[in-house]
Symmetry: C2
Subunit: 248 residues, 2 copies
DNA sequence: GCAAAAGTGTTGTCCTTACACCCATGC
DNA sequence: GCATGGGTGTAAGGACAACACTTTTGC
């Protein structure tokens, strides 16, 4: 097998040490990087996603994720938090990197690599104060088409969320501090797209012993009010499950 | 709340549509992107990782992951496969994106964002033919210090692998086509860092019914030879588990 | 015959699932 | 008093964990 000659700095058989790291880096192709945030919320028993209108004329009328370019010397996580803050005025939200999208033609303006971030936020706690580009919540299931490859990114993040929510108590970020078991179950059903047995669901959470009964009841409901709970984050942090088991 | 002025194209209250997408992209900061491959193997009941010597004088003597810059108009996955091929001569390997590392000071030559990829390959099947930069296999557990932030990347990929191998039959990529149940168990024990009950382990795989008895036995072992199996990829693909369950 | 690993079953416990009735509240 | 969802228990089945002895082979 012969070694292909490339423009890589590493593609040498008899390497010599490189003294000037700055020069090395300068020889690499450079490209713009963006971060796109998929922001999920939950309201009226529906999974929602926060979108804006695309700025680009060629995507006029299409919805887009909240994105922006990454600045020089800015960490990706920092960029994601910045974008959230700039676009929504919020900063105390859950946020996680999902993955990079790098198709060379994904942006009509040229090659741009984007990092998808997934955020979860509580619609009740965080009132939107910035409405540029018609920023608002959409029912997740109603989104069919989007600008760029944003539909693919959205779907990837949704799949990611479905998996994460079963392994980590992320869902509580989407609920008010105090919530009823029904709201919690509705959340899981909305995200997973399944219906769950109410008694088994309650038993499951009761046996985990991670919900604190706040001693209050629902109000203004047209039926028997349920108890309100909050999530015991401290206890969870102390007893995180270390899962060993083969299952595929 | 006031809106911070930024250099973002989106940071306008009354957006006007942008006609020239190319010009837009041109206004973004550009930065070099690299891909770093963590390549795991398994031999002599040990998890191994493929490393080279760093080319940089300031990391002289340190070990480094197999990495290279991403080319213009090259997809990240393509770059990862290219690097594997260039460095090892191999291309039929399992490979998956793990995540981006973006600390501004992670490379001494300046800002470089890297995407970590994790590969699994069978050491017996794939003989190394390219030995530039002292490319060779290391015992994973012996690696303490590395060039750049590569130890952090390596550890992240190891954690990723521990999780993946329990949910997907990735481990078979690290074994020969035909393997004994002991080899399979050694693999799981090496990656997870636990010891497993032999009878329960065998029962588990027997009940999954995804191993095909090839009708051959181990040879040249100094004890009773075990049966050899191969993995039934077709059957797995048809019956992939759709997991629903809350566990944290 | 000894060392080393192969191969094999049972039991108890726990978790999951399926399923039905009464209760509290608002209207 | 009726509609709506809150709240509860049990039984069966399946998965997992713990555990020991006999068998085959090489030396």
């Amino acid at each position: 097998m012969t070694k292909k000659v490339t423009n890589s700095v590493f593609a040498t058989h008899a390497p010599h040490l490189i003294k000037d790291a700055v020069k090395l880096i300068a020889s690499y192709p450079k490209m713009p990087i963006t971060v796109d945030c998929v922001i999920f919320g939950f309201e009226e028993s529906e999974l929602k996603v926060l979108l804006i209108r695309s700025d680009l004329e060629m995507y006029k009328g299409f919805w887009s994720l909240l994105g922006d370019n990454v600045k020089d010397n800015e960490e990706l996580d920092t960029a994601a938090y910045r974008i959230l803050k700039e676009r929504t005025g919020m900063n105390d939200v859950y946020l996680d990197q999902v993955r990079a999208f790098s198709h060379p033609k994904r942006h009509p303006g040229g090659r741009v690599i984007t990092l998808a971030y997934c955020s979860l936020l509580n619609i009740q706690h965080h009132e939107l104060k910035i409405y540029a580009n018609e920023l608002h919540w959409h029912s997740f299931s109603s989104i069919k088409e989007m600008a760029f490859d944003h539909k693919e990114i959205l779907d990837t993040c949704h799949t990611w969320l479905q998996k994460r929510i079963q392994e980590h108590p992320l869902g509580f970020n989407l609920l008010p501090d105090k919530f009823s078991l029904r709201e919690l179950q509705n959340l899981y059903e909305a995200i997973l797209g399944v219906s769950l047995d109410r008694r088994n669901f309650r038993k499951k959470f009761a046996s985990m012993d991670l919900l604190i009964d706040v001693g209050e009841m629902e109000e203004d409901v047209p039926h028997r009010p349920g108890k309100l709970y909050k999530f015991n984050f401290d206890k969870y942090e102390k007893n995180k499950r270390k899962w060993i088991g083969i299952d595929f």
